[in-house]
Symmetry: C2
Subunit: 274 residues, 2 copies
């Protein structure tokens, strides 16, 4: 059992928790909690850590073994145990469950974001900053049937433990891509026949007056600044979410969710008609 | 200028920040930041506090004066100044703007939640716990045209500074009511001719297949436990938000937002047709 903070593995886990640069250099990220642990694709699982008390509890030990057995990796995977005190340092949560894994990062190409059995439904995020918002958006995106998520490099890091956790596992299932050249990549999305819609306070069209049954991408901007003019101008259409009362804007995750589920609603309705 | 933590006013502000019981006993709550300060209805403003550096800045002083002048209260309102260090203790934020007010609580009756110029559109929250979710819901509710919000006593406190802040001012504009008897109050809502729809994972109907143009109330449950069976059974209809992929549930604020905006969409569409 590891009981020292200066243990090399513990020091590495702390670095992976804190620094995007370390996660990217090692091409991994951290996944915490038994629910998320169950979602890890077998090919991506690299290292498993549990707290002392988690492994002592029969339920905890069995849960980890069940996951590894289901993945046919029970024998080859070493489960390292760390003291509860050390685990609290590694954990990103107030009440850690006691299980954590180092997992390989995913690598998608732009084509992977277009889906295979449906018209593409993309989200394009420009410099979204709040980790909770980003995680909620990924989770809702999977639920709404979004085929992929494109993000500017300035968007929060999906591999930040707070974001990873708030995706509730959707991080393993929704293809995503960060780009240094958001304008150029949006150009490629448009070339692929996808209509780009900007959620914009000054949009001329109400969001539910547009047709999203064909290939569609929604542009969502930063929480306080919205979309930059340069990116906003690339949109084929600007849509506005009507707001009653004196509300000046909606939370970015809420706005994205309303748009994604409107697309989902239209696509379900379209299928019924045909 | 107040520079001591043991000053009676400072001690009271700390108590109001921390304890719902104090806020309720004194029938007030705290409002922080210049944007929220501008939203305070004149009749509710009781005390104003600024940090030393805020009042020294011309922009800060003018902003406060403009609000008080617009409310015709410039002369009678004493603006207390506290040292920056004390203000950081009073503030609920990491980077306090430097202005805070003590404001009278609002008191609505059930009838106030039904609106005046439209069919009622209510949200009913059972034991919603996350302050950020609650604030986001209130803000989105105003935008979607919700006429009022009914909450079980076990729901997070709207007057918690975190919630108040995340409403972005909607707390002053959306009528709301806490009830000790949620079942009984839902009964009164139904007697008023409002159809109660529960957002439920086992709902038989897809949410967008129902008609929300007449009086409608959406029931939203706790983040992890959902709606209790007892409350769920009171619903006239259970609606389900379809989820693609492996998503098991949506964030409570997202689910509420999708439902509220679907009602808004139908009501706008209905108005166009007539």
């Amino acid at each position: 059992m590891i009981t020292s903070k200066s243990n090399a593995k513990v020091r590495n886990l702390i670095a992976l928790k804190r620094k995007a640069s370390e996660r990217n250099a090692q091409d991994v990220f951290l996944v915490e909690g038994i629910k998320m642990f169950r979602e890890i694709p077998a090919a991506q699982l690299r290292e498993v850590y549990t707290s002392e008390s988690f492994l002592k509890s029969e339920a905890g030990r069995k849960a980890v073994e069940a996951v590894l057995a289901a993945q046919d990796r029970l024998k080859e995977t070493v489960v390292e145990t760390v003291s509860d005190e050390i685990f609290r340092n590694l954990s990103d949560t107030q009440s850690p469950q006691g299980v954590m894994a180092v997992v390989s990062q995913q690598h998608y190409r732009l084509e992977d974001l277009f889906g295979q059995h449906t018209e593409p439904l993309l989200l394009i995020l420009e410099n979204l900053q709040d980790p909770g918002n980003l995680g909620t958006i990924i989770r809702t995106a999977e639920g709404a049937g979004v085929t992929g998520i494109l993000m500017s490099r300035g968007t929060a890091d999906l591999y930040n433990p707070k974001v990873t956790r708030s995706t509730m596992g959707s991080i393993f299932r929704v293809p995503f891509l960060y780009t240094d050249d958001l304008s150029g990549t949006i150009g490629k999305v448009k070339q692929a026949g996808v209509t780009v819609c900007a959620a914009h306070l000054q949009g001329r069209h109400t969001y539910d007056g547009e047709d999203y049954t064909k290939g569609t991408a929604f542009l969502i901007g930063n929480e306080s600044r919205g979309l930059s003019d340069g990116i906003s101008e690339l949109a084929d259409v600007r849509v506005r979410i009507p707001m009653a009362g004196k509300v000046e804007s909606l939370n970015a995750a809420v706005a994205a969710s309303i748009l994604m589920y409107e697309a989902g609603r239209q696509r379900r309705a379209g299928r019924k008609d045909t």
